[in-house]
Each structure stands twice: as structure tokens, then as C-alpha cells.
Symmetry: C2
Subunit: 514 residues, 2 copies
Amino acid sequence: MSFFYLSNRIIFCFSTMTKLIVVTFLLFHTSTSSSPSSLGSAAMLEPLFQYIDDHQNQFIQRLKEWVAVNSDSGDPTKWGEVERMLKMTADMIEKMGGTVELADVGTHQLPSGETMQLPPVILAEFARDPKKATLCIYGHVDVQPAKMEDGWVTDPFILTEIKGNMFGRGATDNKGPVLAWLHAIESYQATQKEIPVNIKLIIEGMEEMGSFGLLELTRKRNDSFFADVNFIVISDNVWATLNPALTYGTRGSSYFSVEVDGPKLDLHSGVYGGSIHEPMTDLITLLGSLVNHKGKILVTGVTDNVTVLTEDERKTYDKINFDLEEMKNVVGVKKFIQDTKEDVLMARWRYPSLSIHGIQGAFSDPGTKTVIPRKVTGKFSIRQVPNMDPTDVERKVKEHLGQVFSTLNSPNRLKVTATVGAKPWMANLGDPQYVAGKRAVKNVFGVEPELIREGSTIPIAQNFQEETGKSVMMLPIGGHDDGEHSQNEKISRNNYIKGTKLFAAYFYELSLLH
Amino acid sequence: MSFFYLSNRIIFCFSTMTKLIVVTFLLFHTSTSSSPSSLGSAAMLEPLFQYIDDHQNQFIQRLKEWVAVNSDSGDPTKWGEVERMLKMTADMIEKMGGTVELADVGTHQLPSGETMQLPPVILAEFARDPKKATLCIYGHVDVQPAKMEDGWVTDPFILTEIKGNMFGRGATDNKGPVLAWLHAIESYQATQKEIPVNIKLIIEGMEEMGSFGLLELTRKRNDSFFADVNFIVISDNVWATLNPALTYGTRGSSYFSVEVDGPKLDLHSGVYGGSIHEPMTDLITLLGSLVNHKGKILVTGVTDNVTVLTEDERKTYDKINFDLEEMKNVVGVKKFIQDTKEDVLMARWRYPSLSIHGIQGAFSDPGTKTVIPRKVTGKFSIRQVPNMDPTDVERKVKEHLGQVFSTLNSPNRLKVTATVGAKPWMANLGDPQYVAGKRAVKNVFGVEPELIREGSTIPIAQNFQEETGKSVMMLPIGGHDDGEHSQNEKISRNNYIKGTKLFAAYFYELSLLH
């Protein structure tokens, strides 16, 4: 534990008022000081960093092998590939001296009614020393769907480096970061340094589907696997700007399927058009009732529980170094719904949103087809924030859609299914993990990390925090323009290799603070 | 010319009032009488019918060979198959002694900007006798798209007979009827009977796309190919009920693509949701502004020119033998938008309709994908009736969508394209073709045909009538449950074989009336 940290601690007794100022000071300034820990870090970490630099092409080759596996968990026919990917991960951990359990997380019922065995979850650990703090690292090795015809410039399953960026599905979400953790451990082992914290790993293959079975597993292993864990760290998101970041909150998500089932077969729109209650007409009305062009969710009551913005919270957004014009260029839009940096960030991080993703069963190919589709299923999701509750959201969405549908006087059959329901997550910023994370970032990147929230969902963050009561932090290494879930997903060589160093440094900084 | 027909003609001089009654009588009752033509027909046609019965399996084998060709004109990559199908058709006509010209109809520009050579149009004729009437038969050998995964029970390109129905793409629309015409000619040739009319054929491969190039070809050949044509007959629709029918009107059609182009790549709905003007949200609003749940088109002014229903016209619908309950079973719906037989038929035949077919570019697969699609294209079409004009409809739709889009304050780019614009068609019911058609139906099926209109579009019917000034009739042989454009399209063995007899009989009856 550093002198600076101790000396600051002494000031704590002054007054509550002073305490508040000091905590803020701690959060924003500890790692900028030249504390003994930072000075010690440099000497301690230099050989590790050298090893990582020297082995970067080997690390990239491993990522290439991982990206080559189409472990798309959204498609049950690919679950075999998900299992193969988990096996490759387990083999690597075992070769590094870790012990691995492939934990059974049961079965899952598909929308078709079929029941399938879920891929297992990796529970792994390296040699334990009761004197050290125990860090549990979470990651996932499944990916989103990817097809060349979606607009990929390179084959999504062949990692391809172009001008310092390495393109491939899973490069940043989340195969690259999982490998970076393993390579950080390797850097200690290869340089004969003792890893300063006990390491546990949880690696799953169902994250993109909503981490089926993992919550239950967490509950079951709360008194065993998790009993001696002090910290849980997740690197499954990206920076918000050009600067490195620590993430202290994520939005939750519920994914809805709205099926409108009508005639028993597709019909010719010439022969039947005008006489049929067309499922597409019903569905378009249903989807059109969800959100307006300003992004406002129109489902009655769904946003009632959103935490009210305080002036103090609003001010935290002023400090974030976010270039609105740069972001417009990255995504290729002339404007966002909101006009200011603060409002855009709040729309992405602390307010809910509703996106309509597509329609299954309708005509979706190029060309012209004059069909009345017999059954169509709209897909949309709601990103949730504190204090929205997925169960409450699901109930209100179903009520709303049922009510809108009842006005259509339609003989078609409506079925609304919520397939994922993940709560939003907010961490305690005063936790030692955040101090260690800030120091590690400063050490590797030479700048202060930004303290950010994340619009996307890592359901397990909230689940881990709620179920285990342990400290949870998110420590991203992906760039803000990595395009996770998009065409041409990538991670830069720089972020991948410096990210590996960050993780190695983080082990060390965390050990000093425990 | 028959005695009965002459004797009725004599009555014409009585008075205008009487004349009207007699015309009606002629239209509804001529073929029920045992006129000399009908008596003559039986003896004349019996050997032809016998030949057709004896060769039905061979006729079905030919249809099987034709159905095996995936001549989907909606997909330009399949135009090679369309050309192969046209070549097979031309070869068959030539083997039967016809002369064939493969007429060049120029090029077509795809939405991508690429220009492609259109498949040719077959202009064929059999030996001409200036004393005979000349009948020009129109048909097409291209098909709608079909994939097993759309819900076909059998392979759409392997004609499969199940309980008297022959399933396959194009079986009824329109390969079956085209073959039936050729087999009707064959029945005269094989039984050494002189074909009583001169036969010309126009067979195209672009009907499902809107008959690209055919209108221009009709204009060019008005003074040559069409000069000696007396009648044009089209068999490219189906009966409306269990009864055979003659069709005297079709709806027109315009097909619209509404493209909303937004960010330069697909975005993660978690990361960006709430801050982006999502193209899908814009598109859903645009599509939702087109038609309401009662089938009413909401585009301002589009229905202004629809012919006003008169009491006389309304009464014609009373006579049609249409079983609403049976039709509900066929399509598998509990109710139609309208409650009565008359209103349902008018909604399908004499009022316009708007159907939304689907969205290209959005997530359309099974499973869950949390994407904000970067560019989405909605597809819809409007079926038009007299006196709507496609050019006027296109202008009003574009104005309407532009106006709705302007209210969204969206930075996305809207592009509305009308890819097909076909006028509605109405024939003159007093034409001799309808009398001959009625007699032929009575002769083969033993019942009176119903005089119906058709909700779907055969653009060329109106084009032929308008450009050549010749009489046009539609003489369907497909059953009302054939499911053209749907999964499991079929034609029954009974309709296919009796339809061939109908065409043979029709040649004969038409020759008597000319």
C-alpha cells in the first residue's frame, strides 16, 4: 500500500465535507502522483512489458486462430463451434498450469420448443496463495453473427491486419480481451515473476444470447468458487473516446419478439390484397407504437422508474473528453438526436433506448416479391437503466402491445416473447479496483482514464455484483471505433498489445491496494 | 356460325330495351342452349379430348421438366435460367411446326446501376390461312422466387403429385397453362384435324418483374405481328371459386422501394441506442403511414380517381357463386376485413389495395441480433383499379412519403423508387371471345363460367388492349386454391388436363363465331 494512499487516508477524519472532497480527489488524482507504487511499478513491470512487446506477433497469431472459429451463440446450429471454442480456451489455460472445470449449466428451450444442452462454462484457477487477494476475470468466447454479404471488407473469420487494425468477428468482442488476460498471466510466468494476485477465470460461450445458465451457476458456486474472490473484473466493452476508460455502469437489456401469425400460407397480394388483415400491416402498427423519432419510448409506464438526473450527476458529464464531431465521423451521421456532448452521452449511458432490429418472415431479399407474408416476427430491444426492472418492463411491453393490437380488430394471433432480460449495473466508484485500474492505465497509456458508463449490456456484471456481493469493475481495452456487433469489427494492434500490458500492470497495482 | 346465334341476332332490331335484355341473355345463356355449334362441338372435339386423356402423363412429364427450371425473373442472377426456359419453349414450338422469332427487347438498368440485356420474347406462329380468324395466345415462363425454407412441403422445383394436385413453382403461374395451349394445338395435329383458327404465340420471361420491354415490342410490331390478329387470349390467372371463370378485368400494380440510408455502418444498439436517428425507426413510421388496419390507403389523393360504384355494378356481385366460409378455410383466416361476399370480392377486384411485403437490410434471420441496421429498404405495392393512373399514383406516394419523412427531422437519406407501374384492365364483355369462352367452358366442364375480375395484375392485358385495339380475354384454368406466388403452388391434374381440352374447344368455338 502506498504512502500517498495512506496519507490521504489520514485526512479522512477531518470532516464529512472534507471527506467528500478527498474521495473525489482520490478518484481523479491518485494515479497522477508519483507515488512509490507507481515508481515501483515501472521497475517491476518493465520485463513483463518487454516480454509482451517481443511476443506480440505470437499473441496475434493466437487471436487469428480464435477468430477463425464461428462461435455464433445466436444460432443454435453453431453451438458445436461454441463448444469447440470453449475447449480451445480450456486447453490453453491447462497448458499454462491452470485447473479447469467445464461446468454444466443445463439445457435451454429454443423458441421452436426444442430443448438443447447449453455449452458449458469454464471455471478455472491458477495456484492459490491465501495471503494474496483473489481476482476473478470474466470473459466470453462466443460472437455475434457475421456474413460477408452484410458488408464486411474482409472475411469476418480470417483476422486481417490493415494499417494497424485487425479485422475479424470477435476481435474486440470478446476474444481479443480474453486472450489479453491469458497473455498477461503468461508474461508473469515467462519472466519468472510471481503473479501478485490469485487468478480465477470464468469464460462462457452464451454471452451474446444473455448468458444462459450463468446466473444459476453463480448462485450455486457462491459459497465455493466465489467464496475467496475479492474482485471481479470484466473487459467486455470499449472506450467511449480516444482515451482509455474505466467503466462503472452498463445498461440492461430486454429483447422482444413480436409475432403476428395470420393466414395459413403466404398469399398473393394481387389476389387477396384489400380483403386480408395482413400480418405485416398489424406488425408495422405495433412496431410504430414503440418509439418516436426523438428516441422517446412510447410504451406506457416503461420509463417511470428511471433515476432522476441530479445537477451533480449532470456535471460529471461535463468533464468527459468526448468529441461529438469525431463521433459523427466514426458512425457516419450528420447529427445525433441530441445536440450537446452531455446529452448524447446521457442518451447512451443513463437513459433507456428502444431499437427495432428487423422482421423475420417477411420478404427481405433484393428484388420485388408481391407477397402477403403469412407470419412475421418483429425484433426489438430495450436498453434499461437504474432503476428499471426487466420483469416490470416485460409486463408493460406486453400490456402495451396487447392493447395496441386490440384496436386493430385483427383475426391474427399476437405472441410477444421476451428472450433476454438483463438488469442495468452500477458499481461503487470508491472501490480499490478503480484506484488500481486508474494507476495501471496511467502506467501503460500515460494518461488518466475516463470514468464512463456503457450503453451496452453485460448482464453478468450486475448479476455478479448482486449475487456475490463482490466488487465488480469493467476495464475495457477496445477502441471506441472497434465496431463490436457491426460489420468490420476490429481491435487495433496497439490496443491489443497495450491492453495486455494494462492487465499485467493491473494485477500488480491491485495487489498493492489489497 | 350457329342457328341460335343468328336467330338471336334477328331479335336485335326490336328496340334498344329489348337489345339490352338480349345481350344479357346472350352473355349468360348462349352456351347452355343445345345450339348446333354445341352439338357439332361434341362430335368434332371428342377425338381431341380422347387424345388429351390418353397423353396426360406425357403432358405432366413435360410440365415436370419445365418446373425444374428456376426461371425466377425477380433475381437478375437467374436470367440465364429464364433464357434457357424460353429456349426450351421455342424448341417445342418449332418441333410442332411453328416458326419462332426470339425478339430482342433491349436492356434493363438494375437498382444497382448495372445494365443487363433482357431475355428475349418469343413471337411464334403456325401456318396461316387468310380465311380463318387469328388468335394470339399470351403466356410467360418466368416464375416467382421459391425456397424450401419458406415452408414448401415438397421441393418447389420438382413437380410432385399428391392426391391429384401437382405441386411446384410455376405449375399454375404460368408454365402449366402455357403447356396446355401447346398441348391443345398438339391434339389437333396428332388427330389430323385442321386447327380452326390461325395461332400466334407471345411467350415472355419477364412477367413477374412487370414485362420489361414487352410494351415497346407490342408498339413496334403493331403493324406487323399484330396486324392480322383478331383476338388476344391470356390464361395467367385462376378461378375465383370452385367454378370455371372468364375474366374481364384485372387490377394494376406499382411496386415501391423506400430506402432509408443512415450511419455508414451497422451500429450496436447498446452503444448507440437513444442517440441515433435509426433508419428502422424512420422506415417503420413511413410504412405505418401508408395503410390502416381496415385496408384503407392513407396516401393523400391516391384513391381519388377510383370509379364510383353504381347500383348496377354492385348487383353483378350478387350473382357470383363465392363461398366466403370456404375461402376462409382455403387461406386459413377467421375473417376478412369485409363481412359480406360482395364486399370481399369488390375489395379484391374493384378497389385498390396496399400491401407491405417486407424490409431488406434489417435483421431477418432467426435468433437475436442487437443491431441498428445502417440502411433499410421497405417494399410495398399498390394494386390499382380504373381510373387510377400509375404515374399519378407514383407522384402522390413520393409526395406523401417525402412529407412524412420531413416531420421526422432525420439526417438519414430517403429514396423512394417505383419499380413497376402497370395500369388496371377492363374488357368489353360483349366481345365474341366471351361467347366462345362460355361455350367452351360449358362443353368441357358442364357448367356456366362465372364472369369475374381479378385482383392481381397482368400488365400486358391492358397494354395489348390499349396498344393494339384488339379484343382481349382472360381464360383461366388454374383452381382458386392454386396458391400462385405462395409456398406450395400447384395445379390439379384435373384442371391441367381439362384446361387443355378447354383450350382445344375454345379454338373451335371461336372459329364458329368469327
